[in-house]
């Protein structure tokens, strides 16, 4: 099965879509890690109000479809004077969504840091921020790494949602090409191959990291 001439001509367009998907994945992952840290921090606070905020954030993000979240963000941004920016909306929505899962991953691995370590840090005169940076983070992040890579693969799989707010990432680029060439099968298989190209190394990496963490 050879590629149609028109589809061949559209390859650069699909390539640009792939790059946009990558950019979106990276930016949303950054938002997701920041939100995850925040969500984890809030859930582990002693004051009930912060804890409730943290839990509500996680529960809402995990209990509603990502596409609904994207629309909510997309229609809220104009009210803050940031309308008409699909990339910003997609990065925020997908990052916020994934952040809830990251918060749970971090919270589970937070158990590795024993109470004694925190007391030791305090005795050595480290304040909260320094304790978080030098004592908690290195251990928790290292232990979470395989799960985080996994989570970023899932994040990658939510990025096609951005096509509904007309961000020209891989799926939307594919749709534009299909509308012009009527070659749905070929274009969609190329789009699928694009996702596999990013996702398969990630899943392999996650599996390797997982295996490394479980010594025989």
């Amino acid at each position: 099965m050879g590629l149609d001439q028109q589809v061949l001509a559209a390859l650069p367009e699909l390539g640009r879509g792939l790059l946009m998907t990558l950019l979106l994945t990276v930016l949303a992952s950054l938002v997701s890690v920041v939100m995850g840290q925040l969500g984890c921090f809030l859930q582990l606070r002693r004051a009930w109000i912060w804890r409730t905020f943290g839990r509500l954030y996680v529960s809402l993000m995990r209990g509603t479809p990502a596409i609904v979240q994207l629309f909510v963000v997309f229609f809220t941004l104009p009210k803050l004077g940031l309308g008409g920016q699909p990339l910003l909306a997609a990065v925020l929505a997908i990052g916020l969504n994934s952040g809830a899962y990251v918060a749970e991953i971090l919270r589970v691995n937070r158990r590795l840091v024993t109470h004694g370590q925190l007391e030791a840090a305090r005795t050595l005169g480290l304040n909260r921020l320094l304790t978080w940076w030098y004592v908690i983070n290195p251990q928790v992040l290292r232990a979470s790494l395989p799960m985080l890579v996994n989570e970023f693969t899932i994040l990658l799989k939510t990025t096609p949602l951005a096509s509904v707010v007309a961000l020209t990432e891989l799926t939307f680029a594919g749709q534009i090409v299909i509308a012009r060439t009527y070659e749905a099968t070929q274009v969609l298989l190329l789009v699928a191959a694009g996702y596999l190209l990013i996702a398969l190394p990630l899943t392999t990496l996650a599996r390797r990291l997982e295996a490394k963490r479980r010594p025989a």
Binding site: P65, I67, F75, L156, A184
Partner: protein
């Protein structure tokens, strides 16, 4: 907040919710059956089939659901298979969730100590008795919470089907928005409904898990 818009949209949203529930129930049943079948095949079938199923699992693990939906929606008609869009929706969700379900079922069954199967053989239990009296009572509570987690994922992902105009909850919401011009209000209502539904499922799962594992807590008191 435009409360009037929400009130006006409620009847059509209700219909949409009913459609979503129906759709998800169908997809849940189909994916559980297909997933159970896959789990059985992964444990017992010949190596060729196992390898084939593993390739299929790996591909679904890496592909976005939206791409799977588009593939089914656009590619099948090119081979003269025309299915209505709800059927394509159920098919997509089934194909997408079955590998995850198969993994959960397989992990739970393989976690049973080998001695139990041998004991069943020694006691001369039939296959049916084995499953009903020994395997399922121990594996069901283990599978319950991950399976319900997957079902919640399925419900959330069913919202994507509105993109290929399956008339479910999200689709009803879009319809309502085109009439009321209040997107934020309607989408917040939609989010609330999904959240309540999924929270209810989550709560039910925890409740039943607690009840199904009563026998374990009973033993601790001895």
């Amino acid at each position: 907040m435009d409360w009037q818009a929400i009130i006006d949209a409620l009847p059509s949203l209700g219909e949409g919710m009913a459609a979503t529930l129906q759709l998800c129930a169908m997809a849940a049943i189909c994916s559980l059956l297909w997933g159970a079948l896959m789990a059985a095949a992964l444990m017992r079938a010949s190596r060729f089939w196992q390898r084939l199923l593993r390739v299929y699992s790996n591909i679904t693990l890496a592909l976005p659901l939206l791409v799977v939906i588009y593939l089914l929606y656009f590619v099948l008609p090119e081979y003269d298979i025309t299915l209505s869009s709800p059927v394509v929706g159920v098919l997509a969700l089934t194909l997408y969730y079955a590998p995850y379900i198969a993994q959960v079922i397989r992990a739970a069954i393989e976690a049973l100590p080998k001695g139990q199967w041998e004991a069943c053989r020694v006691l001369g239990l039939s296959r049916r008795e084995q499953l009903r009296d020994v395997v399922l009572p121990q594996t069901l509570p283990q599978m319950l919470s991950p399976l319900v987690g997957l079902m919640i994922g399925l419900i959330k992902d069913s919202a994507l089907l509105s993109i290929v105009s399956v008339q479910e909850f999200m689709y009803a919401a879009k319809q309502a928005i085109s009439e009321t011009y209040a997107p934020l209000e309607i989408y917040l209502t939609v989010a609330l409904c999904y959240w309540l539904l999924n929270s209810l499922l989550d709560w039910l799962a925890r409740h039943f898990e607690f009840r199904m594992t009563r026998y374990r807590r009973g033993m601790q008191h001895e």
